[in-house]
């Protein structure tokens, strides 16, 4: 980085303005070209996929020239595929998972944070230990469990979206309780006690007072659960077997991996549309995420 500054054609000048300018270049100015480089690195693939999505021909050839043509042909062509079904499945599954995770995680965090009961400490420790083992590692027994369950209750068997949601919800408590528990502890207990004195039951305190005070952490957990379920591949792939039940991750993987029939324009259009809900969530909830990240949740 330092060499970049020396290479810059800066005239040596002893006038105060020039000195300030030189100092600015050495300390701040060079950061702008670096920023441009990084933005190029970060955004180039995204610009490329946008360009491919808007290209008029659905073929791969000529796809290396960015924004040569702009048309909605690819987006319209998605209507002939199962893309919208998959999108609806993904949104339904991820949305239900997020809602369920938030409700169950918040309830558990409330119990651990506000009640003192036998087994509380043991329960917290157990959750900490369970949290260490990703649920997805047990995918074989999840598969076998659903195989057996499907013989008895078909809606909870393989190839059922409800079963997939249930599996995701099984991982919810382990992943989210601690994130929420810490946040619940920051809400002063005096608030609960005041409500109790005023005659509120525990349920009223929880639904009408506490939940409103912990909204930021609910947003973070909801977002992370949503993104997690939206992007999950391995569980969705082994559980959902028929095309009409696929999520986007499974369906679009099938598009790209099928080398003979891969249609790049279609994939690009699908990718742009599929990423919109997640991009929107991220940009709107940016400030919550930064806090949530350092509280211990990981994506990358």
């Amino acid at each position: 980085m330092a060499t970049r500054v020396q290479d810059a054609p800066v005239r040596i000048d002893h006038r105060p303005a020039a000195a300030r300018r030189r100092r600015w270049l050495a300390e701040v100015g060079w950061k702008y070209p670096v920023a441009v480089l990084i933005v190029f690195y970060a955004a180039f693939p995204l610009a490329y996929v946008l360009s491919a999505a808007l290209a008029s021909s659905g073929t791969l050839t000529g796809s290396t020239e960015l924004f040569r043509s702009v048309s909605a042909a690819n987006v319209t062509a998605l209507g002939d595929t199962r893309f919208w079904t998959w999108m609806a499945n993904s949104l339904l599954i991820a949305g239900s998972t997020a809602a369920g995770s938030v409700l169950m995680g918040a309830a558990a965090a409330y119990a651990f944070s506000r009640f003192r009961f036998t087994g509380r400490r043991g329960g917290l420790t157990a959750l900490l230990i369970i949290q260490m083992f990703p649920q997805m590692l047990a995918f074989i027994s999840i598969f076998l469990l659903l195989l057996t369950l499907g013989n008895v209750v078909p809606v909870l068997g393989l190839n059922s979206r409800l079963a997939l949601i249930c599996v995701y919800l099984g991982g919810a408590l382990g992943t989210n309780t601690f994130l929420m528990y810490g946040f619940f502890n920051t809400i002063p207990r005096e608030i609960d006690e005041a409500a109790k004195i005023d005659g509120a039951t525990h349920a009223q305190t929880y639904w009408t007072i506490i939940l409103r005070l912990v909204t930021p952490i609910l947003a973070v957990v909801g977002l992370l659960s949503f993104v997690g379920a939206f992007g999950d591949f391995i569980l969705a792939r082994i559980i959902l077997t028929s095309e009409s039940n696929f999520t986007l991750a499974v369906g679009m993987y099938a598009w790209v991996s099928d080398a003979l029939n891969a249609n790049w324009g279609l994939f690009a259009a699908g990718a742009v549309i599929a990423s919109l809900p997640i991009l929107a969530l991220f940009l709107f909830l940016q400030k919550y995420i930064v806090g949530g990240l350092t509280a211990g949740s990981v994506k990358g």
Binding site: L60, A138, L149, Y253, A271, S275
Partner: protein, 542 residues
Amino acid sequence: MPEAGTLGSPRDVRGGPPVRGESHARAWTGTGWGFVVKLVIMAAVNAVGLAIVWAAYVEGSWGILAGTLALTAAADWVYFSKRALPSKYLFPGLAFLLVFQLFTMAYTFNVAMTNYGTGHNGTKQQAVDALLIQHERAVDDAPTYPLTIVQRDDELGFAVIADGRPMVGSADSPLAAEPGATVDGDRITAVPGWDVVDRNTLLADQSLQREVLDLRVPVSDDADDGSIRTREGTRGTVYRSTLEWNPQNETLTDAETGVVYAARDDGRFVADDGTALPVGWQVYVGFDNFVRGFTDTNYAGPFWRITAWTFAFAILTVATSFLMGLVMAVIFNDARIRGRKLLRTLFILPYAFPAFLSALLWRGMLNANPDYGIINDLFLFGARIEWLNDPWLAKLAIIGVNLWLSFPYWFLVCTGALQSLPSDVLEAARIDGAGWWRTWTSITPPLLLISTAPLIIASFAFNFNNFTIIYMLTEGGPRFTDTSAVLGHTDILITMIYQISGVAGGRADFGLASALSIIVFLVVGVISALAFRRTRRLEEIL
């Protein structure tokens, strides 16, 4: 849950309007809408629970029956008892956790101790039945009957005329006399309750033909009597198994060759000369699967290479993306830069793009053919570089793509950590004469690592099992050439397990795959325990 709104607003308070002057919070007591909602939900839970119990009873699935019964009873106790207050909040989450995480983990251990997989699917009796069917042949003096294919709902059946009597049967119900059938010449043309499948329909439908060829209708309840099969759809022949099952000695005898296959402890029928029948049954094999993972010629070699690459992949991914994020955070954590908010938004774009789409996108961009792959075309002058098909380049590509995916995360984390560095320590260093370099080598990194170390370890554990990126980019390929197992140079342990398990098709070996996943469980557990010691969470609860 609708309780929230209704309970919170005094309008819905039961027991009349609040007396003037009294806090309306007082009037919250008593049975409200919340109770009604609870009743409705609990009624639904019990109905579903009982329905599952009944279905499990019909199917004879005693495990599911007991589990459902226990969960339903527990739910009733928790929500109708005045005592178990914390459980009311814990129960829903715990129920899901119990079934879909704890049980499956325990079950993984159980499966790892068995030979469960293709060819070892069920009980010994099921294996015997399957073998008897597999070895069915048309016996030399086999009787042949005129046959009509019939259908009802999803079930296919055969209608034959045996000894002048019309008989009907399907795969599940043995042949039985059907006096109501209409016979035209030597052929049945109508059967009450069944639709006759005519020849043109059969010829037009390939999958139906396959079903017809696979269909075997037992002659009677006794499996030794054989079954009716057809090769062309108009004539049925009695097939008998060449194997004979002797329940006393637990042997299968091949009537043609006279070879005797005896049941053995490892779940197979083996003859004296060592040949085994293709179908076995499920038995506990102890730690054999673990031993096999390390010694089997097909898996042992790949296993060590894949383990090494898994560690290299996880370490390199975390190291490269952390360093890049840290350098960026240092450069751009500078109040004098204008438009920092905009820059931050642009920087985190790759992080906000769903990871599976990123991986698929890069797969296309890294296409070796410069006509398709923009990386080769635009940045490498149209050279044909096999990014995803060369063992080393594929590894490089995976780490490169993962860097693109995860540097924004570390940029956000490091920026946050830098901003929360204790200023008094930095000030003290400055007063003591530490220059820019000294501060950046001796003061900041240790402080930074305190807050980021748990995240570094967590990220390592995450990438250790980063199935999506590997599978979406290379599917583990390029393939190893020195083993018949479907494994490749960029496979990590979790994709290897996926491949061996056969859950997505192919030959399944649930036992071996479960044993391997237990090894990964242990590795991840150790890593997480390290992370755990680093965090102060334990202090919070203890």
